[in-house]
């Protein structure tokens, strides 16, 4: 039912279109020449003024503005380019300096090392010499002591044996006869104890 009313309302509405768009005689107002001259006159006037003002006053200003901006941007780009170039050269300089200083540092290090090595070698040599001398001295002393050792031992042996004999027998024994025996014994066994 509602649908029917809906479609009917749409359908019947078309009958009232004539009232909404009342038929008027005349057709296209564009073809009515009544105001043609007026339109031509006002078109010429307004468009003429528009053209003159735009071409003489406004467009040159816009063009100048654009030119100015363009040149300014160009200038800025050039300045930036220049600065970039200078920065590149500065970086190069900096690199050079760093390279140079690195080389210098290397040289200094090398020199110092050589010096230190020389010092060390010198000290080592003197130390070696000293040590050698000390060793030689000590060896000599040892040699002397070694050489003297059997004699002393023999002496002690003679003394102790004479003491022992005195205590055992109660009589003095001739030292020379004891020493002869000790010598004899030490010669026999000396090699065993002293290695010479």
């Amino acid at each position: 039912m509602i649908k029917k009313i809906f479609f009917q309302s749409i359908f019947f509405n078309f009958f009232f279109i004539k009232e909404v768009f009342p038929a008027e005689s005349g057709g296209m107002p564009q073809l009515n020449p009544e105001f043609w001259i007026s339109q031509i006159f006002w078109l010429t006037l307004t468009f003429g003024i528009l053209y003159v003002v735009l071409s003489k006053l406004i467009l040159p200003k816009i063009s100048a503005n654009l030119e100015l901006r363009k040149s300014q941007i160009q200038e800025n780009i050039e300045a930036a380019e220049k600065q970039r170039e200078s920065s590149v050269s500065k970086i190069k300089e900096y690199d050079d300096i760093i390279l140079k200083s690195k080389l210098q540092a290397k040289n200094i290090f090398k020199d110092a090392r050589e010096k230190v090595l020389k010092d060390i070698n010198l000290k080592k040599e003197t130390l070696d010499k000293q040590i050698d001398e000390e060793i030689k001295k000590a060896e000599q002393e040892i040699y002397v002591l070694k050489k003297k050792a059997p004699e002393k031992i023999n002496k002690i042996a003679i003394e102790t044996s004479s003491e022992i004999v005195k205590k055992l027998i109660g009589a003095d024994v001739n030292n020379s006869s004891i020493s002869a025996i000790v010598d004899d014994l030490s010669k026999k066994n000396g090699n065993k104890y002293y290695g010479n």
């Binding site: 105001f35 007026s38 006002w42 468009f47 467009l59 100015l68």
Partner: protein, 244 residues
Amino acid sequence: MAANPMTQFEVYRIGPEIKLGAFDISFTNASLFMVVSSLAILIIFNLGSKKNSMLPNKIQLLAELSYSFISKMISDTAGSKAKPYFSFIFSLFMFVLFCNMFGMIPYTFTVTSHIIVTFMLAAFIFIGVTVIGFIKHGFGYLKLFVPSGVPIVLLPLIVVIEIISYLSRPISLSVRLFANMMAGHTMMKVFGGFVISLGIVGGWLPLSFSVALTGLEILVAFLQAYVFAILTCIYLNDALNLHH
């Protein structure tokens, strides 16, 4: 206001009747919108060119973008020789564009929907281009009607066709703009009328159509101004750089 879709194109007198000799040059609604469009253009571009800041504000950007847009269009179609005619083509494009756009506001009058206006513009362009052609090339400009590389047998026919096509330029140029504007506005009016006649029940469909048509008409308004200007450039190109 009656709802006949054609009544929107009616011209009526505003104020007293002004007579210049035998001619009636009264101020009409058409004149009003010509003045309004021109003033709007002048105000916008004057504001856009007033001060030159390195970072342009919106209106300056608009003016400069329009400037470079037209400038590029001219140099693309007519080459560097067309530079002296830049101001004219710029004014022409802006005038047609603003008249079209002002026509899109409800209850306004579309200046360019009148054949007499568009025809006057087109006739001026046609005469101007022809004069420029004859000044630049003398009678050699007539070579425009004789394309090179055409067999002799076909030549008379081709020349006749070329002359007809040349002479019909102002008509095609003016009728294209006029018909587009008139058809668009009539259609919008008709759909608007449907909305009222179908009422709250069935009016939604034509209303949505009307909305879509408004968008389309704004596009057409721009496009027709562009076409008008670019065809002027092409005609100018023919006159400046004779290729035949």
